[in-house]
Amino acid sequence: MSNLRVDGKGRINRDKRIRFTFDGVSYEGFEGDTVASALLANGVHLMGRSFKYHRPRGPVTAGSEEPNALIGTSRGGAGRFEPNTRATVQEIYEGLTTVSQNKWPSLNFDVGAINDKLHKLFAAGFYYKTFMWPKSFWDKVYEPVIRASAGLGVSPSEPDADAYASRYLYAELLIVGAGPAGLAAALTAARNGTDVVLVDENRELGGSLLSEAPASIDGKPTETWLSECIEELSTLPNVRLMTRSVAIGYYHENMVGVAEKLTDHLAYPPAGAPRERMWRIRAKEVILAQGALERPLVFDGNDRPGVMMASAAQTYLNRYGVKVGTAAVVMTSHDSAWYAAFDLVDAGVTIAALVDVRSSVGDHLLSEAQARGITVKTGHTVLSVAGKKRVSGVQVGRVTGDGKVSDITSVSCDTVLMSGGWTPSLHLFSHTKGSLHWDEENEVFLPGEKTERCHIAGGGRGLWSQQAAFDDGVLAAEQALTSLGQTAKTISVDVDGDRAGSGIVMEELPSNDDKLLAGHL
């Protein structure tokens, strides 16, 4: 298998090699890798199959929003198998065993994929309509067939062998998300002496700073600034930092449930250690700094292995030192994918074409692309993707005035990176019955009326640049502290080389078909 690691990139520990298995094959990665990043470094994109049509699937993201790369995991021993773990989240450790899902008899050759060819027969609701009658067939015939062919993963058959702990915690200020906004809020409140808890689902604090480091922060290299920031926060007695901790629910009166993963990254967990700890954190004020999620674009074949979000490719490169492919086509309607493309070119990836559906983009983007020798196709779109278990090329055409596509050509590539802009991550806020309002200008849902004492900062408010996120984090902390009756001393964080950008929203890309096949489940 090819090695797609990039020297000098990534936050993995190259001194510590780790072996794990995927579908019985042994792979090597480094400490700090996820299953997805380690497999991608080995050139493996095919990580599962879809549950209905058994279409081959690879990872489309690099985080907890992953819909495709779901795997079964085990550290060996009875009661330690778990289905539906995101390969993009699960860290590798020596001895980790992983398996793909929804395949029979194997991931590479799957009989159920015939459904994909017959998809016109299998209308929506096929299972429910076809397997209804006669009733007596349910137990013996239909259910086993459906379970075997349609389920998501395999249910564990033995009792869970692990122990789980539960704790209560109280804080003046709880901050969810440790990207630029969350860190700025934490610094502001922490220096003020406020009792702060900062939780983040990742192994490391930093959020988007880990995936796309600006040139410098406060005149220091981003990495230096970040480690000094974490050092400061971790030495203050009024601050508690929690990593690998997912805020899973926002309940009445500012109670937030947080699931802290304790041992799923360790080859040898301490005897008797709980696997996870469930925290019920009651905070007087809450700041949600959960950033934004990149939107996929709709075109035929956008679920093929090798098609992923542009930001995911950027994360795999900058955080894990992995090239997701050698020749990529970028399909975007937002500036952010241009920056992802620049990072990839600088790391030695060929950008076969940078396709932007917008007819004009900023001159600075065009000149940066030109300086890197990237073929730019503005006012163009990707029509379809070639390749089954891995992308082999795309069809690209020019968008005409009437919304159709002409001058269609083929471009070879092994990766397609898409970006349809960004959507604020407001799931937790929505738990509180907080309303969302549609922002016409930016075409996003933004937080509206609140029912709890919470503040949204950064990407959650539709602010896309890191400088804006830092500033907004400070502002949110000031508001929270005022609400606590404390006087906040303001701070400032200055970003150099910030990559602000904008874009447009496309519900569906232009195409010459009347309608794309809706949803390849």
Binding site: Y251, H252, E253, M255, R280, K433, T451
Partner: protein
């Protein structure tokens, strides 16, 4: 998880310590034998189903153990007031969206 102010303990405590105990201010007829079947049925079973402020009884089961009354908005699920069992329903409860915290202070 809600925080509920017990009017006897004079403390705001987690919902886990409390139990819901039905609609408030339903007086037991002084002489049940004189009730018609319909009146007795109404007393036993007929309850309101309010969309808005609802007067209800709660019991501080894992605390002082006493029953008390509360006014809670069934749409926002916020407590507007809690008060001792023999007190009448508070007036001016149209501020249904205000949390009990604001009213306490």
């Amino acid at each position: 998880m809600l925080l509920i102010h017990c009017p006897y303990c004079k403390e705001k405590l987690p919902e886990l310590e409390f139990e819901y105990a039905g609609q408030a201010h339903i007086a037991r007829p002084l002489n049940p034998a004189e009730q018609s079947d319909a009146e007795w049925r109404d007393y036993l079973f007929i309850r309101s189903n309010v969309r808005g402020d609802h007067a209800e009884q709660w019991r501080h089961t894992h605390g002082c153990g006493r029953y008390f009354n509360a006014l809670r908005n069934t749409v926002s699920d916020k407590f507007i007031a809690t008060y001792e069992i023999e007190q009448p329903r508070p007036t001016g409860s149209e501020e249904g969206e205000k949390s009990n915290e604001q009213l306490e202070s």
